[in-house]
């Protein structure tokens, strides 16, 4: 679909085509709302079901049955009557629910009756020395290459960090015939003790047996080393990975280092739209303040999926359905919708076991609050020491820090440094991330070219001004 084919207004605009967005769009369109779903990627599926309609990985065992569950979701959305627009970048959303979107270099402003933000999560920043070197990638990036392009690590490859995705990816790479020389597990030992209290709940959850099986599968084939220090070393690209546990230090030559330390909500669009956020101390991230229907503090704007707080792909779809039912009830109360109570119960079930995972995978302070010359803001190349020193000089928050150091001012708009900067300021000033707050984010939340912006249709007001 081209920008010029879009209607000027829709009952519901869904932003993001992962499980939450697909489920929301399908339900709303079936109930009769005019619905459009925008996703900036070439296909729908989000990250979890990335390339679900086009993956070259045909052996279903490689990516696993949890991945292929996405086929049904995508098909449902596709058949629902919703307009599904891929390659569509949403760069602005304001409190009056005006949505700025670009498709193939042309921009439009679309009025939404309701909006469901389903922009999901992104990987928690993992600022270690050398993490900007070519050859260092996020594990999620490698998983995308596998799902969408059928590419697997083939050289000297090391994975490092922790969290369910790291182990899942390791298993997928191995099943696909890829190569992993070592997994460096950064999980602090104390986390196991802290997680123990949540064990009974976890054992009863589906995560338990799946997780155990994955761990066994990977550990049988790859050396796993517990580390508490980690560094990527190289000149113009990665040459070796240096790691340490206690006093012992090792160096391992490597072409590829895949980093992962869990995921956090992608708050950029919601924050720029004025949605109130709060600090989640258990998951160490900011998340939107929402009611039980996932409505945000801004009227008519809901946030569903992992963007509403990390809960996983299955929960994301249920959250999307709940937000869509709220949209239908608001705009078309007479329409039939699925039973809300059943969906809420499904969602409740998905929460089981999360507390254990959160406690176990809580990243160590040393990996969240780097020291010295380690780069914090990759775009503007701002180091941990600069941020710490500037905080010591009296800089109280991330927004002042932007003005002093330009951290968060580059094209990624703080996505890869925001949490680190907040935590560093809090640490230096002896206060909490909740107190310090996050960057104030400004649209466009994704950069647009001047030509794209100039391509917005000329309004009546402007036309008259020119004629006069």
């Amino acid at each position: 679909m081209n920008a010029s084919d879009l209607s000027p207004a829709y009952d519901l605009v869904v932003i993001g085509g992962g499980p939450a967005g697909l489920a929301a769009a399908a339900l709303a369109a079936r109930a009769g709302l005019s619905t459009v779903l925008f996703d900036e990627n070439p296909g729908v599926g989000g990250q979890i079901y990335r390339a679900i309609a086009s993956s070259p990985v045909k052996d279903r065992a490689i990516l696993g049955e949890d991945y292929w569950a996405g086929v049904e979701l995508a098909a449902e959305a596709g058949a629902s009557g919703a307009s599904i627009v891929t390659g569509a970048t949403v760069w602005s959303l304001d409190p009056s629910r005006l949505v700025g979107v670009s498709i193939a270099g042309k921009a439009r402003l679309i009025q939404a009756g309701r909006v469901i933000i389903a922009t999901g999560s992104l990987e928690r920043p993992f600022p270690i020395p050398g993490w900007t070197l070519p050859g260092v990638m996020s594990a999620g990036g490698a998983q995308t290459l596998l799902k969408a392009q059928g590419l697997v690590p083939g050289g000297r490859s090391v994975m490092a960090g922790g969290g369910p995705l790291l182990w899942l990816l390791a298993a997928q790479i191995l099943r696909a015939g890829g190569k992993i020389d070592a997994i460096l597990d950064t999980t602090p030992r104390v986390n196991w003790l802290r997680a123990l209290g949540h064990l009974p709940d976890f054992v009863l959850s589906p995560y338990f047996s799946k997780g155990l099986r994955l761990l066994r599968e990977v550990r049988a084939r790859v050396r796993v080393i517990r580390v508490d220090r980690l560094e990527a070393v190289g000149d113009d690209k990665l040459r070796e990975v240096v790691f340490a546990a206690g006093d012992a230090e090792w160096r391992m030559p490597a072409d590829l280092l895949l980093l992962h330390r869990g995921v956090v909500p992608n708050v950029n669009l919601a924050t720029a739209a004025g949605v109130a956020h709060a600090w989640n101390e258990r998951q160490l991230c900011f998340e939107p303040v929402l009611d039980e229907d996932f409505n945000s503090s801004v009227a008519g704007i809901a946030v569903a999926g992992d963007g509403a707080g990390i809960a996983g792909g299955t929960a994301a779809a249920e959250r999307g359905r709940i937000a869509a039912i709220a949209a239908v009830r608001a705009l078309k109360p007479e329409a039939a919708v699925p039973d809300l109570q059943t969906i809420r119960q499904n969602l409740q079930r998905e929460a089981m076991g999360r507390a254990f995972l959160d406690a176990l995978n809580r990243p160590a302070v040393s990996f969240r609050q780097p020291q010295g010359d380690t780069i914090v803001c990759r775009c503007e190349e701002v180091t941990a020491k600069q941020v710490r020193d500037t905080a010591d000089l009296g800089c109280e928050g991330p927004n002042q820090m932007k003005a002093f150091l330009r951290c968060g001012m580059g094209p990624c708009q703080g996505r890869l440094c925001g949490l680190t900067v907040t935590e560093l300021i809090a640490a230096q000033r002896g206060t909490t991330p909740a107190e310090v707050g996050y960057y104030r984010l400004r649209p466009p939340v994704k950069p647009i070219t001047l030509s794209e912006l100039a391509s917005l249709p000329i309004t009546e007001v402007e036309r008259k001004a020119v004629e006069r």
Binding site: S92, D94, P95, S96, L98, G100, A107, L109, G274, E396, Q400, A403, F404, R406, M409, G410, P411, Q413, R442, P443, P444, P447, I448, T449, L450, S451, L453, A454, S455, L456, I458, T459, V461, E462
Partner: protein
């Protein structure tokens, strides 16, 4: 209870500059700011330091400011990112150029020589990237640009070093006579001082209302946008007259595009909602004027909250109702350059009761007279 010689309300560039200049005169000011210094327009404006194209009533303040800008590091201990590559007002057609010529001639008759008419060749020399259809313009060669947040912070820091007290996150809730003093009620307790300066920007009418003085400001939020870093290609700040545009490249390579299209402000929530239809007008203007910018990437847009007066020029001078209170607000989207000089003038006025810098035409009484005429 806190006491001071002067309470300055508002921590923008004007409040901070006035506090510094009061401290330099040996007085003890307390500055009260509801957020933090430079939080609003003073910290997020386009950073233009411009004498060009100013209202006649502002020119003396602008010229005195310029001489402070040129020794800004000596004044505040920081160069504030100030660079001087001139401001160029580009004429888009011959009619515009003719009106510019009349203005420059008029200024000369009045003794002001900072504006200089330039032809097509000189325009191309100063701004090689400008589109070929532009026949000339006006340049003010000493003009320049600075980093607004850094500048405001530098004034704040030096004011504190010189003995001013700066209270941030503190709101003024009341203002009343207490004998020979003014009693300023704040969220951090009362402060008493014989003199008060109202430099509260978009909130200044609320302070004036505490004195029963009408200050018919409009709360506005001029929008700006900035590109990702591109190689250096333009040095002066460029502005237009017929269409709204200000355009300049920073040392770091980013290009700031502004010009006065307005966002919707909410001064009670410190928020602004951008108007993309109007930003698209800016984009089209740049598209025509600087063809090289067409594929440049916009990475951020924003708007700072400030006050606009009905006649587009600020309120500077003593209160018309309340002795010992002075106003310094309503800079109507062009107050950044005026900050240093207006602060110096205000400190002189507060300390000595008079000033050598002409501020005729900027008094608050003009609105009371207006209100009376209308009723």
């Amino acid at each position: 209870m806190r006491t001071a010689d002067v309470v300055v309300i508002g921590g923008g560039i004007h409040g901070c500059s006035t506090a510094l200049h009061l401290a330099l005169r040996g007085l003890k000011p307390i500055l009260v700011e509801k957020d933090y210094a430079g939080r609003h327009a003073s910290g997020v404006n386009a950073g233009g330091v411009r004498q060009l194209a100013r209202d006649l009533a502002e020119i003396p303040l602008s010229i005195s400011s310029m001489s402070l800008w040129e020794r800004i590091e000596e004044l505040v201990g920081d160069d504030c990112g100030f660079v001087s590559h001139g401001t160029v007002l580009v004429a888009e057609n011959e009619t515009e150029l003719a009106s510019f010529r009349a203005r420059v001639d008029d200024l000369r008759l009045r003794g002001f020589t900072h504006e200089e008419l330039i032809d097509r060749a000189e325009l191309k020399r100063l701004v090689p990237a400008v589109a070929d259809h532009c026949p000339g313009g006006v340049v003010s060669r000493r003009d320049g640009a600075a980093d607004p947040f850094r500048t405001t912070q530098a004034f704040r820091r030096r004011a504190i070093e010189m003995g001013a007290e700066v209270l941030e996150g503190v709101t003024v809730t009341g203002l009343a006579r207490a004998g020979a003093n003014w009693r300023v009620e704040t969220s951090a307790g009362p402060i008493e001082a014989p003199k008060v300066v109202n430099a509260a920007g978009a909130w200044a009418d609320r302070i004036a209302a505490m004195l029963g003085e009408p200050a018919p400001l409009t709360v506005v939020a001029p929008m700006l946008m900035v590109t990702s870093r591109v190689a250096p290609f333009i040095q002066p700040v460029v502005i237009l007259r017929g269409r709204k545009l200000s355009f300049k490249q920073l040392d770091n390579g980013t290009v700031v595009i502004g010009g006065g299209h307005l966002a919707t402000p909410d001064r009670d929530r410190n928020e602004t909602v951008l108007d993309w239809d109007k930003l698209a007008i800016s984009a089209r203007t740049v598209w025509e004027l600087f063809p090289a910018m067409r594929a440049a990437t916009i990475v951020r847009a924003w708007a700072g909250i400030e006050a606009y007066m009905p006649d587009g020029i600020p309120v500077v001078g003593p209160s018309s109702t309340s002795e010992g209170v002075y106003h310094q607000f309503g800079f109507s989207t062009h107050g950044f350059q005026l900050g240093p000089g207006t602060g110096a003038m205000m400190a002189e006025l507060v300390a000595t009761g008079s000033t050598n810098t002409p501020i005729d035409g900027l008094e608050i009484g003009r609105f009371r007279d207006q209100a009376r005429r209308q009723s």
